[in-house]
């Protein structure tokens, strides 16, 4: 089992989501995140004549736990669909998951994951 965490553009999220569904990756979690990065040069707010630094970036973090067999196609899907070529397209992190359980059925391991084969 692997956990894929992808920080992607909010504007690309719908594209990625649709593509994941097409690859039968139907179950995942996401949330809105705020961060700091290189893409902050033009983020300035002027309030009553005083410039205010608002150099934070809004992105969406996508978290998917998949069976090893699904890892490659999921990553490929995100890489292709979150891509715009501009600075700030985001990052993908992959980590090992040691165990998982489904609470309702008490299944564990691969069986407990939503994403079938």
């Amino acid at each position: 089992m692997k956990k894929i965490e992808a920080i992607i553009r909010t504007s690309q999220f719908e594209v990625v989501k649709k593509a994941l569904h097409e690859f039968d990756i139907d179950f995942f979690t996401w949330w809105d995140v705020t961060g700091q990065g290189n893409d902050t040069k033009h983020k300035r707010e002027i309030y009553r004549g005083t410039v205010r630094d608002t150099s934070f970036i809004s992105r969406r973090l996508l978290s998917i736990v998949v069976r090893d067999i699904n890892l490659e196609k999921t990553i490929e899907c995100i890489l292709n669909n979150a891509f715009t070529g501009e600075i700030g397209d985001g990052k993908i992190f992959v980590s090992e998951v040691t165990q998982s359980y489904r609470i309702r059925t008490k299944e564990c391991g691969d069986e407990s994951l939503f994403n079938k084969e």
């Binding site: 002027i46 009553r48 004549g49 005083t50």
Partner: protein
């Protein structure tokens, strides 16, 4: 038909019969409905001993009564409009401050209404209008006739009125109408400093300030200008134009509020994080610009009561000119502020400055609205729109006084400008006999320099008197109970620590990120 429904039917018939008698029993009646409104209002409506055949005196009595009635209704309705300006102030001030202090800012704007009314009733009205003399437009009652004055240079210098304390002994419809109208004006002045002192002022300190401004500070200066005091008699006694003329309160209301705001904000000190170590300011954005914009427009609406209502007479047809002048100056102020920010300052048409420009135009036209022509009004508004921005930057960056909503620049600076503008632009078409001086009110550009000097004296006296008394009051509060909340409370937001309740319960606020770090 059973017994019960029979009873109900009897009762309903009885009620209808009684209604019929009540409606038809009047001496004046017509049977057919009157959709075009042609029959309503005729000779029979004139109160007369013999209905339908009034004598000449009865007719002229009715005409006189109608005139006073129009004046009184106008004064009251205008007063109600001005009361609604409280909403505008509350929205502007709360919108331009942070979410974590919204309950506190709103509460100050709400409670100055309550505290102010009681304070003004207690002795404010008596001090301000106790010596004003007969109320010409509101029925002519002359019970408010005792001005405390001292003799100086062979002239009597009126200092404050003494009749009408607690509205005692002046149980008169005209006086009560005047009370309502002047009361809401006092509230307008009193609510101005709450914006400049927002986000760090103890509520207890605010409450005590509310008592002082409504009972002493505002009424005394108001008496000098409107209640027959010494600034109004400058013309009669010293030949300076018509004395200090202030039609609707650029100095009496707005400059008073602005000067108090300046003194208070100086004593209170800037909000945490407002200034860096090198003295450069940080922006602390308000949390609800849409609310602030709505508030500014509500204020502009209320101003149609503020200025035209100040004739205290719906039969004074100058109200048409006053209303248009008010409208044009506010528009010019808003446009000037927008363009000035857009092209000369930050290259953006800053919405908060557009609002301040709108209000600055209104404040500036408040004193001269009845005395200038519409071209002058537009010019006064244009100057006000630019002046408010320069004043905001001056106060923020040179004086280093933290004024979250720009109250000092809008009300203080432009209040002074409004009075001076009257002394410059008054065109001599209105104000015959104003403050007991023959002839119309004429400004410097129309040939009467002495009117301008009177305005300068009025403005300077406002700054000195209100500034001094304000300083004493704020210092007294500072020594006794303290003006300022604790720093940790301020960082956390003073809604909970001062008021006990959050403005936006259930919504997570990022309280620390709202306070900039002083570098």
């Amino acid at each position: 038909m059973n017994d019960m429904s029979h009873k109900i039917l009897t009762i309903i018939t009885g009620i209808l019969l009684m209604l019929g008698i009540a409606l038809c029993g009047e001496a004046h009646a017509y049977t057919k409905p009157d959709p075009a409104g042609l029959q309503a209002g005729a000779t029979v409506d004139i109160t007369a001993a013999k209905a339908g055949a009034p004598t000449a005196t009865e007719i002229t009595d009715q005409i006189g009564k109608n005139k006073i009635a129009i004046n009184m209704v106008w004064t009251l309705v205008a007063g109600f409009l001005v009361m609604f300006m409280q909403v505008g102030f509350a929205m502007v001030e709360t919108g331009l401050t942070r979410a974590k202090n919204a309950t506190h800012t709103m509460s100050m704007n709400m409670m100055i209404y309550g505290i102010g009314i009681l304070g003004f009733l207690l002795c404010g009205f008596g001090i301000m209008f106790g010596g004003v003399g007969p109320l010409g437009t509101l029925g002519g009652f002359e019970g408010l006739n005792q001005e405390f004055s001292i003799n100086l240079f062979g002239h009597s210098i009126g200092l404050f009125g003494t009749r009408g304390v607690m509205l005692n002994g002046v149980y008169d419809v005209g006086v009560f109408s005047l009370f309502l109208f002047e009361m809401v004006f006092m509230d307008t002045a009193a609510t101005i400093p709450t914006g400049a002192l927002a986000e760090r002022w103890k509520f207890s300190a605010f409450a005590i300030y509310g008592i002082f401004i409504s009972t002493i500070i505002y009424p005394v200066y108001g008496n000098w200008v409107w209640g027959g005091g010494w600034l109004s008699t400058l013309g009669k006694d010293f030949g300076l134009g018509h004395g200090h003329v202030d039609f609707a309160g650029s100095s009496v209301v707005h400059m008073t509020g602005g000067v108090l705001a300046l003194v208070g904000a100086t004593i209170l000190g800037p909000r945490i994080g407002k200034y860096n170590k090198d003295g450069s300011p940080n922006a602390i954005p308000g949390h609800n610009i849409p609310m602030a914009v709505i508030g500014a427009l509500i204020l502009a609406f209320g101003w149609f009561g503020f200025n035209p209502g100040s004739t205290l007479a719906g039969t004074d047809l100058r109200i048409g000119i006053v209303a248009v002048n008010t409208m044009v100056a506010s528009a010019a102020g808003a446009v000037a502020a927008m363009l000035y920010m857009w092209f000369f300052k930050t290259k953006k048409p800053d919405p908060t400055m557009m609002m301040n420009g709108l209000l600055a135009g209104l404040v500036a036209i408040t004193a001269p609205s009845a005395f200038v022509n519409v071209q002058s009004a537009a010019l006064i508004g244009l100057v006000a729109g630019v002046l408010v921005i320069e004043a905001t930057f001056f106060i923020e960056r040179v004086l280093k006084v933290d004024d979250p909503v720009g109250a000092v620049a809008v009300h203080g600076v432009n209040g002074a400008w409004g009075c001076l503008a009257l002394g410059l632009f008054a065109d001599g078409t209105y104000g015959d006999g104003w403050n007991g001086v023959k002839g119309t009110v004429t400004g410097l550009f129309y040939g009467n320099a002495s009117q301008f000097y009177a305005e300068v004296i009025g403005v300077v006296m406002n700054f000195i008197f209100v500034g001094l008394i304000g300083f004493i009051v704020f210092k007294l509060i500072d020594i006794t109970i303290g003006n300022r909340v604790l720093p940790e409370e301020e960082l956390e937001g003073i809604d909970i620590s001062e008021m006990g309740v959050e403005a936006y319960c259930g919504i997570k606020l990022d309280k620390n990120s709202e306070t900039p770090l002083s570098r």
